[in-house]
Symmetry: C2
Subunit: 533 residues, 2 copies
């Protein structure tokens, strides 16, 4: 049962030019000119946004932008007949992991930005039903436009798709920030064009599609996330009634080693809900990158030396680690939570805890983008972080491992990743996003996209961390196109039972292998045969 | 794409006697005598526990009780070779829905009671890894035996399997009462004998299997619940750190019509977490059945008349509707939540709210079983409810619909179910279990199992409610063997796309159709062909 991995050093052959040309003609007839991008400049927007222009990988043939389920079905019909590979994205803003770019060069990007309707907002049950093209900005603007007071959860950058982010296990930073947990009900177009509704949506005339997460029988929602088993065309999302009080907080730690103590103090507060959102623990360089450029601190080559890092950490408003978090709800309960949090962190030497306080029903224009994001107000301000090396052409690539919330795990990941990046000459910029029982250590590896050598180093350094992290017991929760196969390889229990299982589902649901071949290391049968030769 | 439903009026043919005999011999060689029950009296324990003995349906051939994954694999190997149908249960205590009995008579019950190890308790992250034979009592006793202070969530009757209850979308009544939401990681033996671990368990040496719910790639856990796609042999479960204060509360309503107002007041308190557990709203007859028998109130035939129902409701300690719920946590926060809850319900005319208060780290021996259950202490006391019609031989059957938490939906379900049961001559005994965004109206249809006519009436009355409920938009969240097909029929969106999808998965994962054929209306290919003839 041993299997051939298809990795990026051995790209599957793209479709022949004539096949691509014929497909474009067909897709033009289905989508019209408004739904088909073939111009090189337009198509380039759907490459890996931070890859160096000279790299020849992950290049789409053209971009399909259907406006309806029926158009998707027509695309799938042709793709099945002619074995045309498609690569689905919603907005396609998954930038630190390859953006909208396809794993297989020559594939057509099936981009759903034009399906951008908010189909329903239920004020009573605080739910929405949306299409995949709805960005966080779109949903936010829609809620305000209809006079709704409901809050939503947003990631740091608000231009992405609510659906797409959820499908890739993305997170936000209100109490609804575990986006998978806040999802309720889906519509999925399967590879054969059949339209499935999950949960209670499988019942015509249902009253509970957006409120009860399951139906009667197996729940398929999970297998349509981080997969290539279907095209999600509608999704239910839970919204949050506005809290009486919104109280964002900051915890500043002076010493690098205090990360461990912080995690030990934080874990019980996460488990018992004292801190209800997903706190982000930001290391000094990542914190600095939100407001400054690297050259303000250091202009030498190689990683910023420890003494400079320490100097930055001592600046007012900075720290070696800074945690953003927030409290939400009844004024008296929030006040008590503030006390509990302050008491708990007050035992860490040198720690400072500060809070702001806002009326949850009348939010201001926030000056601080972190306070905005934790209130579920979309923003692009934190895109600044990618400009660390200067100029407008900053890029980043994510290396992101899941772990228990313990000091041991926090320091193990910090040490592994810092050494890996520093040894490659890169700065260690990282955040730890903390959930109820687990945390994700995200190395935000920033680089100058116009500096090919640096970009290559960043990609390679991330890739080189995958196996050592797995050896310590840490798996990635999401991965860049460039090392999806390598990441999937780490999930090796019982001779890769998970891969075999995913392939069984893939072959059953998409026998012609047209949907996002290679996504998360799941390859259709035809590609596996090719690799085995 | 129209499809033949296999319903219980048209039982699939059981395997021939010779095949059953040969299988028993084989299974004896695999399991020894301690793992095989063939004696009629023993096997009878695995029939529908409340079916009348004269009914010839859902009858197992024998019961297999493997003690290991290897024994399960050996059973599956033989079952695949000889097309022997198995029917998986963990403890098999799903009594209101058919217990451990198989949908297809002649199937072998694959019962996992002997796999009853608590494999790990992680005090730090508050998780456990358990086998399917672990009952709620077992886990509770284990935690106390090892000196753990951690709480668990239990349903009203504690003899069931933690895994089995979760797989059937069961619920409990602490803040961890959404058992599916508290599940983290699985090991599954597939029909072909392959062993899959989900989420981070797919990585050897994983540190995050029981803390991070997903892996990298699709999450399969949901498709192994309420399905027949695999045999779950290990499961992670989240435990609750003990709260400083445990404060169970009671709300009593005098008027039937106040249910609507209650639900409107309750919904925001559920959404914002003021009430963190899953409250149960108990109607008067169900409440009475927990402590008394029917004959104490009425001895006539037919449903108890409205004036008697009203008389019961006016007794001290009773009410037309009574809601049990509880608060947990920091003393000051709980006190504030108590005030908010009291203020909110105080606006309902005649409503009474009372609370008890306990030290969460030193729970007493509770007198009231409701207080015990909401503290996660398993009990069998509420089994009394099934003895409403007198004697030890009470039975019950569940008819259980999911709906939004609104007064409209509450009264619509109450009126539909009450009329259906009363018209059939049965009492309306019901509870509404309330979650974060949805509620389940459970008709607890009790009857005397020795009274065949009454038992038949109870089964038929539940069955007769399925289609009318669906017409109003309410689907069942779980269903009795006797009407699994009928329930599945209601999930008819897009010409039963969900059924077709489930059949595609079934055929891919269990091509010989050996695992729990008919579970939740999912039939393997061979049975579908038989039905179509």
């Amino acid at each position: 049962m041993a299997q051939q991995t298809i990795d990026s050093t051995r790209q599957p052959a793209p479709p022949p030019d004539a096949a691509i040309k014929a497909a474009i003609e067909k897709f033009r007839s289905v989508l019209g000119t408004e739904g088909l991008l073939t111009d090189e400049k337009d198509v380039a927007q759907f490459r890996d946004p931070f890859a160096h222009p000279s790299w020849r990988a992950f290049e789409p043939s053209a971009v399909l932008q259907p406006a309806s389920v029926e158009q998707i079905q027509a695309i799938l019909r042709f793709a099945n007949e002619h074995r045309v590979p498609l690569w689905t994205s919603s907005q396609g803003r998954n930038n630190g992991y390859g953006g909208a770019a396809p794993r297989v060069s020559g594939a057509f990007v099936l981009n759903l930005r034009r399906m951008n309707r908010v189909l329903e907002v239920d004020e009573e049950s605080a739910t929405a039903l949306i299409e995949p093209g709805v960005s966080f900005f779109d949903l936010y603007n829609h809620l305000r436009a209809i006079g709704s007071k409901l809050w939503m959860s947003v990631p740091d950058l608000g231009w992405g798709s609510v659906v797409g982010n959820t499908l890739d296990h993305g997170v936000g930073y209100t109490p609804y920030g575990d986006h998978v947990a806040s999802q309720c009900g889906m519509e999925v177009v399967l590879a054969n064009g059949d339209v499935l509704r999950t949960g209670m949506g499988a019942m015509e005339n249902t009253k509970a599609w957006q409120v009860y997460k399951r139906g009667c029988g197996p729940s398929a929602d999970g297998i349509f996330m981080q997969s290539n088993f279907g095209v999600v065309t509608k999704m239910g999302v839970w919204l949050m009634p506005p809290p009486q009080v919104y109280m964002p907080g900051w915890l500043t730690l002076r010493r690098d080693s205090d990360l461990e103590l912080l995690l030990e103090k934080l874990r019980p507060l996460m488990m018992n809900g004292t801190i209800p959102n997903q706190p982000m623990i930001i290391n000094v360089l990542c914190g600095a990158s939100a407001f400054t450029e690297r050259k303000a601190w250091y202009t030498g080559d190689g990683p910023i030396p420890e003494e400079i890092v320490e100097k930055i950490a001592q600046q007012p408003g900075f720290g070696r680690w800074v945690m953003r978090f927030a409290l939400y709800g009844d004024a008296k309960i929030v006040e008590r939570q503030r006390q509990i949090v302050t008491d708990a962190f007050g035992t860490i030497p040198g720690a400072e805890v500060t809070f702001s306080k806002y009326d949850g029903n009348a939010l201001p224009e926030f000056e601080n983008p972190h306070e905005r994001v934790q209130a579920g107000v979309p923003s692009l301000a934190l895109d600044q972080m990618t400009r660390w090396y200067g100029g407008e052409n900053g890029g980043h690539i994510g290396f992101s491992c899941a772990a228990p919330i313990t000091g041991r795990d926090g320091s193990a990941l910090r040490d592994l990743v810092r050494k890996g990046l520093n040894d490659a000459g890169l700065d260690y910029s990282a955040v730890i996003v903390v959930g109820k029982r687990s945390m994700i250590h995200v190395a935000l590896v920033v680089f100058d996209t116009e500096n090919e050598a640096q970009a290559r180093t960043a990609y390679d350094a991330c890739k080189a961390l995958v196996a050592p992290a797995a050896k310590l017991g840490y798996g990635e929760y999401r991965s860049h196109l460039d090392f999806m196969d390598l990441v999937a390889d780490q999930y090796g229990f019982n001779n890769h039972a998970q891969r075999r299982f995913n392939e069984t589902l893939k072959d059953a649901l998409d026998p012609n292998g047209i949907l996002s071949p290679g996504k998360q290391g799941i390859w259709p049968k035809a590609y596996r045969a090719q690799a085995a030769r």
